[in-house]
Symmetry: C2
Subunit: 688 residues, 2 copies
């Protein structure tokens, strides 16, 4: 049977918030700034046609704990208990903009956006507010054409937050169930009744019996919105999940949410969202059309959608209290919640540059202002800006430590290359040449630093990283593949990083051509040639393969060797990559390498991609990226057809894994890190 029980994050943009739903039991709910699902009970259902029983989607477990606290015996569910719909009676469909469950006479849909967002520094408009409203629209459709009586439909919720009680809200335009001041569900006033108690069943019964005195038991740990739908027709009801986190929310660098300039509280947010249901539905439809018209396979469409949903759950749009009006975009790193990890920024670039390029600029500028430092080799950028709303002191990441030769070491070269690629890529694609000019001095420093990390003397230059940062204090630098072995984990001599470095030289070449500095441009071209030569010369013609470390100290076969190809292709078009172009040999060698490693060495048994043959640790975001490069740049066709995509989807749908919505890091197909993660939007490259 098709697996329909998996969590998906349904998220507003930039609110670091998620209405997670889909795994069986009390595994979803409203999460604000969390590292994983809130694990709350949600009851979405309606009375059956007989009116004797109520049925709901199976997103709840036992909710009786609250009452037993009072020394009252736990009751066994009686005949009035809400029954979960049987798995076989539920149909679920996830797309980029919608997640829909159909069961019995009920259809429940959560709409989300993947909007093209205008730059908030330049405009404040209705579309901007709609794109950034910290709310998620839901729709309940009840087909009561065959019912004899009016039926009650309900949306119940038991919040898990340890601070702040649940409560019912009746405002002029909305009816809501809220926990504290920060999270809640709302419907339009007049359409819903809000109740509270220890069981949804009790609230339903109070509504049915028209007993207002029993409707709200304020000590109850469960709230529900209840509506009555008439017999003989189909009723459509809207709800919104709202989030609100006011005031200064970060330390280190005091910031507030951008949205707090527009609304005054969660009720206000809900009112806005409920009065913009058309725009929000339209935005979801736009997202669906965008992905839908791509002709992607079912598996890829699903994975891209799932990844998109998780990406937005990690996003946060802030502004510093001391610099109002400047958007501060933060992507929190999934379960780790590190803020704007630079080696994720470079992968999410492919998505952000299409939908909201100003977020790329925002992150680059934050790195420049606060998180660039100089080591003995020149300027570099720190791994991240902090963790879970705690900005680090300037120049400090929460991740990097000295003396390491693996996880938690420094990534000076990787992040420098990443910043250069994102900066020039942003300027070229967003056509923001002014921005590049403004940062002329930094670009020059970056170039100098890149050269120093290779070799200051041209005669010794190899076009690749030859020196570790002194910040390592005896350890060595690593790459974004931090918990993988040396084949991809070590930075110095890394094939993966060499190809990215090659792309960085080319980006700088383009940049200096733009600035009409032909000599510097030519020098960058030379550097790129040196890099290409350093790679091609260790290509083993006999077995069509390049070792993972160019010095031969690690001979693993790795797929991400090809990663760097994406940048010239995306930023400057195909010319640089042509077989008869200036780097024809490099491209050809990488193509042969890919062919070789994909034949057998870099596969799991089920056909899934194994980034390095010497490790069972594989990253889905990087697989998506390399798939796009292989197919679109290297014109490689998987001889196993869509077997790999099916295997990758199966990883995400695995019962344990799927609790975390979209996750990146898989150890032989089991999530071993990077859960609930934003990086899967590399899949957007499938669309190009």
């Amino acid at each position: 049977m098709k697996q329909i029980f998996y969590n998906t994050q349904h998220c507003p943009v930039g609110a670091f918030a998620s209405f997670t739903l889909g795994a069986k039991g009390g595994k979803g709910g409203l999460g604000l700034e969390l590292a994983g699902p809130a694990c709350e009970n949600i009851w979405i259902g309606c009375e059956d046609r007989s009116g004797l029983h109520a049925e709901a989607l199976p997103f709840f477990a036992d909710a009786l704990a609250g009452e037993t606290q009072f020394g009252i015996d736990k009751q066994t569910p009686g005949s009035g208990a809400i029954r979960p719909f049987a798995a076989g009676d539920i149909v679920r469909e996830l797309s980029a903009g919608k997640d829909t469950w159909i069961a019995g006479d009920l259809r429940f849909t959560i709409f989300t956006q993947a909007p093209k967002i205008p730059d908030p520094e330049l405009e404040d408009s209705e579309p901007l507010r709609t794109a950034l409203v910290p709310a998620v629209l839901c729709e309940l459709v009840i087909d009561n054409r065959h019912g004899q009586d009016c039926r009650r439909v309900f949306f119940g919720w038991q919040a898990s937050d340890v601070r702040g009680a649940m409560r019912c809200v009746d405002s002029a335009h909305t009816t809501g169930i809220v926990q504290g001041t920060s999270k809640g569900f709302f419907g339009a006033a007049g359409h819903w009744v809000a109740g509270q108690g220890f069981r949804v069943e009790d609230i339903l019964d109070a509504v049915k019996q028209r007993e207002a005195g029993r409707l709200r038991h304020g000590i109850g740990t469960v709230c529900a919105l209840v509506a009555e739908v008439p017999a003989g027709g189909i009723s459509v009801l809207h709800l919104v999940a709202g989030f609100w986190s006011p005031g200064i929310v970060t330390t280190g660098l005091p910031c507030q949410y951008w949205y707090s300039r527009w609304w005054s509280g969660i009720e206000d947010v809900a009112e806005f969202a409920l009065s913009h249901t058309e725009a929000l539905t339209k935005a979801a439809k736009d997202a669906d059309e965008w992905v839908g018209k791509s002709g992607l396979s079912r598996e890829r469409r699903w994975m891209l959608s799932q990844a998109l949903h998780s990406y937005y759950g990690s996003t946060q749009l802030l502004e510093e209290t001391s610099r109002p009006g400047i958007p501060v975009w933060v992507v929190n790193e999934g379960e780790y919640r590190m803020m704007n990890t630079m080696d994720l920024t470079v992968d999410m670039f492919f998505y952000e540059i299409k939908r909201h390029p100003w977020t790329v600029r925002s992150v680059l500028e934050q790195f420049l202002r606060y998180y660039s430092t100089k080591d003995c080799l020149g300027i570099t950028f720190r791994h991240d800006m902090g963790v879970a709303n705690a900005f680090s002191p300037p120049g400090v990441s929460v991740y990097e430590q000295p003396h390491r030769r693996g996880c938690f070491s420094f990534m000076c070269m990787e992040e420098l290359v990443n910043w250069v690629l994102c900066a020039i890529g942003y300027a070229r694609i967003a056509n923001d040449i002014d921005w590049l000019h403004e940062n002329r001095k930094v670009i020059e420093e970056c170039m100098a630093s890149l050269i120093a990390r290779d070799h200051l003397e041209d005669s010794a230059s190899l076009g690749i990283m030859q020196f570790d940062s002194d910040r390592c204090e005896g350890g060595y630098e690593i790459t974004t593949y931090d918990s993988l072995d040396q084949s991809l984990g070590r930075a110095r001599g890394s094939l993966y990083l060499a190809v990215k470095t090659w792309a960085a030289w080319l980006a700088l070449e383009w940049n200096y051509q733009l600035w009409e500095q032909p000599e510097t441009a030519a020098r960058m071209h030379e550097k790129a040639e040196k890099t290409a030569s350093s790679i091609t010369k260790v290509f083993q013609a006999r077995n069509h393969f390049i070792p993972a470390l160019l010095d031969g100290s690690c001979k693993s076969a790795t797929i991400p060797a090809i990663e760097g190809l994406v940048f010239p292709w995306l930023i400057f078009g195909d010319d640089l990559l042509k077989k008869d172009g200036p780097f024809g040999e490099l491209v050809s060698v990488l193509g042969q390498h890919l062919n070789t490693v994909m034949l057998a060495r870099c596969r799991f048994g089920n056909g899934a991609w194994k980034l390095s043959e010497s490790s069972d640790n594989s990253w889905l975001s990087k697989i998506y990226l390399c798939q796009a490069i292989a197919e679109k740049i290297l014109q490689w066709k998987d001889p196993e057809g869509d077997q790999a995509d099916k295997a990758h989807q199966a990883w995400l749908l695995d019962e344990e894994n799927s609790f975390y919505a979209w996750s990146d890091q898989m150890l032989s197909g089991k999530v071993c890190g990077s859960r609930y993660y934003p990086r899967g939007v590399t899949a957007v490259l499938w669309l190009k």
Copy 2:
């Protein structure tokens, strides 16, 4: 062996906050607005004399989870691991103002206050701020007279809050380890170094090796303050636990913490506390002297201290944003967190009236303004004002529901009697006669309502509750003993409530004498006589006992029959209670009743008091209260000596129970409700 592992709440006044510590393992920590312990790891220790090992009090469990998230293998504790002191090597002593652990060369003390607090409406002074600072002072003493080298002493912490990362803080005057913006530990700048990582061991090592680069690993889930103490002497170091919850913290009635008018953030709070260590130590000493000079037994001193500590953890001093300058005192109901439950207010009255009588007035006024309503019988007061920072709509409690005949029913009579007793008691003891005058109309309404709940026609009046509120809609009213059986749970005809009603008539008599309305005063006296007569006439002379329900429908033996005696005794002195006084017969009958029930019917096997012979549910707060009444008013002497006190203490020290610090409701000695509870301060009556 003496039981030394039990949680105690170490709490500022009015901050709804607790530094809970004492149970073995990661069971304590910093809780803000929580229903129970935060369950955090705390490492308090120092290097041993050899300098090779570090030892700590055993308030931590495994803290490695954070690192395994990154796919890094969990390490087995090596030889460098911090060793917990063996239970047998630890001495602990708890008093009203201090909690001290001694182990090896280490002494750790937490100081707390039980201050006489000036009325914040009338003054803003240094003593007031010191009494209300949301911080708790700690002291570490290291005896290094026999050490050869300097030794490192440490205070490590792993916060459990799901929002907001841990971080180190260096401000001009303090060094701190903080979680988010709301909780942290601080020392004076210059004395401590703050570090962060995945293990306290790593932080200690970085300090020892003088490696600043490894001291702060920002992604780490553990922080520690580390100091070095020189060889050859005794070092005394101070720390404070600080709390901070800014802005509007409540819903329904928007309020902020009173303290937020004085400080700007947690660093500011810490700085104040660290510059007032003398005053804070003095306040703790005052509390100790107050309780110490009482001549209480060890068991009673300990229980009173434990109860006092838990009481303050539930307290909250707020002000409404719309009525600044008016103190809003809230006592949250322990694990239930109901706000200002009136039937707790009346029991905590005995304590509050001694230390801060204005808090009694504050609660009475809040009830008047927002939570008094009229039912068919007249004015009454709701059970509570809301739950966990969510104020209910005016006139609504979160507890009361119609159709009930037990827990969650209405308490109209109980709360009316309670409000009258507190109001007149407050005016008399605090000598605030003006306040009584200002509330003349309400007192009149209360009298009328009391009369109506007995009977409007004098001929049918029995001086006791004869009618249930129409709010019950067919159910019946209950008392504060809500989860007990009818013997104490039912309000109408209740012996327990009758004696309290008798006290209310007497309070009103005093009040009308004061107002020079002799006719009304005489009428109240008559009512009291009727009540007395209704009780004495069902006294069973044969077996010296009064049935729990005066109509004879429940014949259980109950101890709280005598509860009401406390009010005339406390408020108006002994005259009313003399054997040859106007109520000599009632007092004599109640004395005989007590004698009878205590002989055998109201005891557990171990000598502990059983409030009702027909239930195993017993409340410690009420036992303390009845002990004081029995001994001080009825001159009853327990033939079993201090056996009962020992049994009651053993309940609280039971391994499972003691996790919740002080708890009220015990089912055959096992906590079954009312955990982490404020009501135990009834024990203060032992002091009188």
